[in-house]
């Protein structure tokens, strides 16, 4: 029971609340609702050749022209992706968690690699292996000269790449769900005569259905909103088309902006429908174990020897598919540009140049003169462009991730204290979840590309350096729903009585928040910050929409390295540097995940135990040294 009847005096707290209310209203209307409504209205305000408003011009164009192709292509990708991702995702979880497969720990590590490199880094990694000049294709061409080297492009390449890129959620959520199964239910079914596969289909799968349903919806939305894979591998889907249209002009084609807006709204409609279905399903509740003494799931042996061998082969084939790009990227990041260009591994040619330092390139021009290209070979930490991209992405991602966390922490504190009013705030912050990222970015790009938006002081935010503000705003707004869901969950850990206890001991609201509540939620807040940063650091969709000379992020730099690959003499080791960049991303992401789930998840007792062990070790060392000293003194 809270202090329902406590009368609040008009004081600094109320003033703070008023400022907070105004800020959240500004955030919601100014950076969520108004820009998106502007996009929606732009569809119906296109003008014909005579300058008259024709509300249905774009829709007529959509129905008559080939715009429908982009929608159908995206839907095709989404539908097939749901099937392939679920097949692979369920397989890898069962192979590592449910069935007794030899080397499951190693397999799990391999299957989890997509958690430390994804998006553009993963797509370019796959291209490095399978594209026309990729390592595997080159090797195959040598053995089979007649093969089609452009096989890895278009729909199939996108589907293949995204299938393996999108299983991270299965490894996180389905794995947790399967681990939560009460083993006693499996034993009970076996005891009643069910075969292992019958148990799997009749007992295990039904309890996983809610999680699988959520994963299916999320995968469908991911497929629908796919950006980096279709862009880089060449597939006409909605998002790349929106970005293309956003950068086009009426001189080149008919009302490109209005068409982009229509595509974004179509995407938003699909997203809203799917998320509504998902939330209705989630409201029905999940299957919960009713067991009071839950038993830990034990791995099931596949008793049929043939099935066992086939399962092992399948597991390791998947492992090879997951691991090969990673291994190749790591290896080739230490190779000279000649070796990378030839896509061949030889005993020589090892170098650190893709990471550090720079070299000049000497060549003979057609005139016969020997020319030198200064700095044509450079490492990622020496190359101005790459380093600039890293710095830009780092700063923008840190800012956006931190602002999102601060906003959500303040909001959650209010939401938990004021259940009814808090609900309005909660829905406002969850609003961007309903909108595809591309709609938000496109809306920002168009709406703020003007000097007449009063609430940003009539400043054009899509102009020169200000585009960075726009990127931070977009990054932050897009990350608000995720941050809210995660941080709100951590607030449930705060017992109402803790606040009462602090108050009873004389602590004011701010002190109580800083000294009692914040330390409890801090690990979760830091985890959300780290996960947001991880996702934003190599983020592609928004970067592509806002790409300009002043807002060139790391993802764009990586993409440009693909483009630069063929340009000899100027940027010779673009591919090697791209490999090094991907390795860098993997290290940063891995480190963050370790800090979040390894170090950050420790509670006070674990931290004290570690401190205790460390102290004992130091004491032991000190004793050992002092013992030696004494011995030396005695001998001396």
């Amino acid at each position: 029971m809270t202090n329902t009847l406590k009368r609040k005096p008009i004081d600094a707290t109320n003033a703070f609340r008023l400022i907070g209310g105004l800020f959240f209203a500004y955030l919601f209307f100014g950076f969520m609702l108004v820009p998106c409504l502007d996009t929606l209205t732009s569809i119906f305000t296109t003008k014909d050749a005579n300058g008259n408003v024709d509300p249905f011009a774009v829709i007529r164009f959509f129905l008559a022209g080939n715009m429908g192709k982009f929608v159908l292509n995206s839907l095709k990708l989404a539908v097939l992706l749901v099937i392939t991702v679920n097949v692979v995702g369920i397989s890898i979880v069962l192979l590592t968690e449910y069935f007794d497969i030899k080397g499951a720990k190693i397999l799990r590590l391999g299957y989890m690699t997509t958690m430390i490199y994804s998006g553009v880094a993963l797509v370019t990694g796959y291209m490095f292996l399978y594209a026309g000049d990729g390592i595997l294709t080159t090797a195959l061409r040598e053995s089979f000269p007649g093969i089609d080297t452009s096989w890895f492009s278009g729909f199939n390449a996108v589907l293949f790449t995204m299938t393996f890129a999108c299983t991270s959620n299965h490894m996180l959520f389905l794995r947790n769900a399967i681990r939560g199964i009460d083993y006693n239910t499996v034993e009970a079914a076996r005891n009643m005569g069910a075969s292992p596969f019958k148990v799997l289909f009749k007992v295990v799968f039904p309890t996983l259905l809610p999680t699988l349903f959520s994963l299916t919806v999320m995968t469908f939305i991911t497929g629908l909103c796919a950006m980096s894979a279709p862009t880089l591998l060449g597939y006409d889907s909605i998002n790349p088309e929106i970005v293309r249209l956003a950068g086009s002009s009426t001189a080149d084609e008919a009302f490109p902006q209005a068409r982009a807006a229509l595509l974004s709204i179509i995407l938003a409609m699909f997203t809203i429908i799917l998320l509504t279905v998902l939330s209705r399903y989630e409201r029905k509740g999940h299957y919960l174990s009713v067991s009071k003494t839950k038993a830990k799931l034990q791995k099931q042996k596949i008793t049929n020897p043939v099935a066992n061998v086939l399962a092992h082969i399948y597991a390791y084939v998947l492992f090879i598919i997951y691991m090969t790009p990673v291994v190749m990227i790591v290896i080739f990041s230490f190779r000279s540009w000649e070796s990378v260009k030839a896509r061949k591994l030889t005993s020589g040619g090892w170098t650190l140049i893709n990471y550090f330092g720079s070299q000049d390139y000497q060549y003979t021009a057609s005139s016969g003169k020997i020319k030198v290209r200064e700095g044509a070979i450079s490492g990622m930490f020496s190359n101005k462009d790459t380093l600039g991209g890293i710095q830009t992405s780092f700063v923008l991602s840190v800012l956006a991730a931190a602002i999102a966390c601060v906003i959500v922490v303040v909001a959650c504190n209010y939401i938990f204290k004021h259940k009814k009013k808090g609900l309005v705030l909660e829905y406002a912050l969850l609003f961007p979840w309903l909108l595809p990222t591309i709609l938000i970015c496109y809306s920002y790009r168009i709406f703020f590309n003007s000097n007449s938006v009063w609430y940003v002081f009539n400043q054009n935010l899509y102009y020169e350096d200000r585009v960075r503000i726009l990127i931070v705003l977009a990054y932050m707004v897009v990350k608000l729903p995720f941050s809210l869901r995660m941080i709100k969950a951590s607030f449930y850990a705060i017992d109402d009585e803790l606040e009462d206890a602090a108050k009873n001991l004389g602590s004011g609201p701010l002190k109580t928040f800083l000294r009692v509540k914040l330390p409890i939620i801090l690990p979760s807040v830091l985890a959300v910050f780290a996960l947001n940063f991880n996702a934003l650091f190599t983020e592609y969709d928004m970067s592509a929409t806002f790409n300009s000379a002043h807002g060139r992020t790391y993802a764009m730099v990586i993409q440009s390295m693909v483009r630069d690959e063929g340009l000899s003499y100027t940027n010779l080791n673009a591919s090697g540097r791209r490999c090094a960049s991907t390795v860098f991303i993997m290290i940063v992401s891995g480190l963050i995940l370790y800090l979040v789930y390894g170090v950050g998840a420790r509670d006070l007792s674990e931290r004290l135990a570690i401190r205790d062990r460390r102290r004992k070790r130091i004491d032991k060392l000190k004793k050992a040294f002092s013992g030696k000293d004494k011995k030396a003194e005695a001998e001396g």
Partner: protein, 352 residues
């Protein structure tokens, strides 16, 4: 600020009314607690006992009525200035702080000197039997009983005038509850602090308290010593709520009247299990009713018989003397002394 006479009790809740919207949670609550007394608010869930405690501690403002401590009206005094320590139901120990930091929290808020804080924390820790080693631990590393001691130490270290304990034993297992109950009483006697204890457990209330206030639906049914409450329950609710009891059926009451008891047959008559006996030698004024043992529960120290008297089953609690043990189906007589009956006029609530 209104001041009452110096002869006033330590705590006085005067005409307290608490409302949550249209719902009145407390109706005219009047309680007086003496200095050093162990006073318990007892009642079922939702009866208003915690609301009364929260009104005393300042978490809830009463719609009507005043709260006095040592004669001083503290109704409008902020929570932190009331000088009342609280031990919460969940203990509300700060999980991110060590045991030491938990106890020191209130002293740090008061901005005391570090050396003074240290001295006070160690003194109180010693009193509640917490070792120096335990002070360095995280609260999650302690057992339920040890956590309770930390909560008590934290509440007492600021030297409050009163300590309020809100169902502090409810999260513990039965054995530990009994053990800590004894420790709690011992500690209260040692500190001599006025204590307000909230519980729904009648056994806890009877064993710990100097006096008890029994709550029901936002009103106080009775205030008295454990013996008053148990043996002289003022209302039918108290009589039913405290301990196990037999309500005699109309047939049995009529039968007792026929045998000379002076009872109003329209009233409800109750008798405690240990006040009636099986096959007791005849005594003056004690009436007997014949019956048959329907079943038996063996508790070791006691044996509980369910005796079928024809119109009802009555429960009888007999001391186990190892000799007089009756089996299911045995014909027995039940001895009832009308003086042991507690009788109440019928009320709508009781009829319901």
């Amino acid at each position: 600020m209104e001041r009452l006479k110096d002869t006033e009790p330590m705590i006085k809740l005067k005409d307290i009314v608490v409302k949550f919207g249209d719902f009145t949670a407390l109706h005219d609550i009047n309680i007086e607690v003496r200095e050093g007394e162990f006073f318990t608010f007892l009642g079922p869930s939702g009866c208003g006992k915690t609301t009364t405690l929260r009104t005393l501690t300042g978490f809830i403002d009463p719609a009507e009525g005043r709260v006095f401590v040592r004669g001083e009206d503290i109704t409008d005094v902020p929570i932190e200035k009331r000088n009342i320590g609280i031990v919460f139901q969940s203990y509300a120990l700060f999980p991110t702080m060590t045991v030491y930091d938990n106890i020191a929290f209130g002293l740090k808020v008061k901005k005391m000197k570090k050396s003074e804080i240290d001295q006070k924390v160690r003194t109180i820790a010693k009193k509640v039997d917490l070792s120096d080693e335990q002070l360095k631990k995280a609260v999650s590393q302690l057992s339920g009983g040890q956590q309770q001691r930390v909560a008590i130490a934290r509440a007492l270290v600021t030297e409050p005038a009163i300590i309020c304990l809100d169902e502090p034993l409810s999260n513990l297992d039965a054995k530990l509850r009994v053990q800590l109950r004894e420790e709690l009483k011992k500690m209260q006697r040692e500190f001599g602090i006025t204590s307000i204890y909230v519980t729904h457990d009648q056994e806890e209330a009877l064993t710990l308290s100097d006096r008890i206030a029994v709550f029901n639906k936002g009103v106080i049914e009775q205030i008295g010593t454990p013996n008053d409450i148990y043996n002289h329950s003022k209302t039918e609710f108290v009589c039913n709520f405290i301990g196990d009891i037999n309500r005699l059926s109309e047939d049995i009451v009529t039968l007792l009247c026929l045998r000379g008891a002076d009872l109003d047959t329209s009233w409800h008559h109750y008798v405690r299990l240990e006040r009636i006996h099986v096959n007791e030698p005849e005594r003056n004024g004690v009436l007997t009713v014949k019956g048959k043992v329907a079943s038996r529960e063996y508790y070791g120290l006691y044996i509980k018989y369910y005796v079928d008297l024809g119109s009802q089953l009555v429960k009888v609690m007999e001391r186990n003397d190892g000799v007089h043990i009756y089996d299911e189906g045995d014909e027995v007589t039940i001895n009832i002394d009308p003086a042991d009956l507690m009788s109440y006029p019928p009320t709508e609530e009781a009829e319901a």
